[in-house]
């Protein structure tokens, strides 16, 4: 247990990686969005997609945690289990903190009528329409999903190299195309559309969380036999 906590502390030794960069990216994207909102001379709600910027960094963070920090952790004789649990728990905490910021930003945004320029950075139509916990769940799960998918691809790369990564990427693509083809053949698109129309941000979060758990379990079993 203490070694799991030590892994989390090790990931935080350079504060920029898990804390500094996400905040910097969020702030930079926020300021740029505000500038653009202010430049658009429209007196009604303007929505930008800028708040997704840190999410892409989390994808990279997931990849790097695996490709660069894992080999180092092996040099310090850290078990794969401690590395996995420590890294994933730390990121969960970071995602909780970021979600808090997003919620807070959303509240201020509404109170100030879009920062005084009718610009909405944290509010996203449909996503943030529900109650606060639905918005929170959505942001949290998306952050976890980005990190875990990066981590998962990196584990595949570590274990099976370039060819393994290619096979799993192409394999996933083939499966998706196959499903789409099947849906078309069986003329099920109507049902699919209806299903999506029924979803709320909260239920989408639930499905994504399920996918996260599957991917996280998959990366752990792959990591168990990975070498640095």
């Amino acid at each position: 247990m203490s070694r799991t906590v030590a892994v989390a502390r090790m990931q935080l030794i350079n504060k920029w990686t898990y804390i500094g960069w996400p905040l910097t990216i969020l702030l930079a994207s926020f300021l740029m969005s505000l500038a653009i909102f202010a430049l658009i001379p429209v007196q009604e709600g303007k929505y930008g997609g800028g708040s997704q910027a840190p999410m892409w960094y989390f994808l990279v963070l997931g990849i790097q945690s695996m490709t660069l920090v894992f080999p180092f952790s092996q040099g310090l004789s850290i078990s794969r289990r401690a590395f996995y649990l420590g890294t994933l728990s730390l990121f969960s905490l970071i995602a909780v903190g970021m979600t808090g910021l997003y919620l807070l930003g959303g509240v201020i945004e509404k109170a100030t009528n879009g920062w005084g320029v009718y610009g909405y950075f944290f509010s996203i139509p449909w996503v943030t329409d529900g109650p606060w916990y639905s918005t929170a769940a959505f942001f949290f799960v998306v952050m976890m999903f980005m990190f875990i998918i990066g981590f998962w691809f990196a584990t595949i790369f570590k274990r099976w190299g370039t060819s393994g990564t290619l096979v799993s990427t192409l394999g996933s693509a083939v499966v998706l195309i196959g499903l789409a083809a099947l849906t078309t053949l069986l003329e099920w698109w109507g049902y699919v559309g209806a299903w999506f129309a029924q979803q709320t941000p909260l239920s989408i979060s639930g499905w994504a969380a399920l996918l996260c758990v599957v991917l996280a379990a998959g990366s752990y079993s792959t990591l168990r036999r990975a070498t640095p």
């Binding site: 090790m10 350079n14 920029w16 660069l68 040099g75 004789s77 070498t227």
Partner: protein, 312 residues
Amino acid sequence: MNDTIVEARNLIKHYKDLNALDNVNLSLSANRIYGLLGRNGAGKTTLMSVLTAQAFATSGEALVFGANAYENDAVLSRICFIRESQKYPDDFQPRHAFRSAALFYKNWDQGLADRLAADFQLPVKRRIKKLSRGQLSAVGVIIGLASRAELTFFDEPYLGLDAVARQLFYDRLVEDYAEHPRTIILSSHLIDEVANLLEHVVVIDRGRIIMDADAEEIRGSAVTVSGSAEKVDAFLAGRKILHRETLGSLASVTVDESLGSRERAEAQELGLELSPVSLQQLVVRKTMAGAGGAGHTAGTGDFSDDTLEARR
């Protein structure tokens, strides 16, 4: 004092087209300095990786402190193995790496790490990515020494280090080992440089252990006899010849045997010269002898059959 802390039984590591480890049996005792010697690609790093559960054996058993190190925190916390090509997080500086190590090794000595960093003139606030090869080696050496792990592996720690830095490393290693005895495994192909440090020598070649003996035992276990070819051959008839060189009518022959005092006297009477064989020469000769038929310099083709006979 002589507790076995590492035990390898029939270790085999098979890659697609080669046996990186070919039935390795090895047993290492506590509180000694071991040399793991061998050519590049002989299997040194693979062996260390398998022992520390960084890599997996195809078959066989590797026990460290009596148990398999794999996912075993109790065992792993007593091991330090920074590999020669160790990777560090992209944004890490040496001081970050040291602080990380301090989190995991209960005997970590920050003072020692600081002194070593000064000795090696290591810029501790530069990104590791931007360090030179020698400075990168220094980071590994400092973690290895300052962690004071009961079982510490140094994987060719001198790469890129200049002669002064290498000497510093050897000196600091011996000093710290004297104060804090532990088991150190030093993998190297610069054998002469480390020969004096080693208490026990393990030589690996193409995945097989070809020598596993105390350094004391090895010193004097082989001898080179030189003089007129005829006399040398007569004197050494029937002995285990490792290597033979001729120059005109003179021959210089290395035998894998020690000579008793009577034989030494006899050699002196015959006017033959006896010279000790350095550890490096011995390892080179044994490795080449193992490769079969190599180990001859040009112009000695005539003797190759004899040499092979003698070896049999």
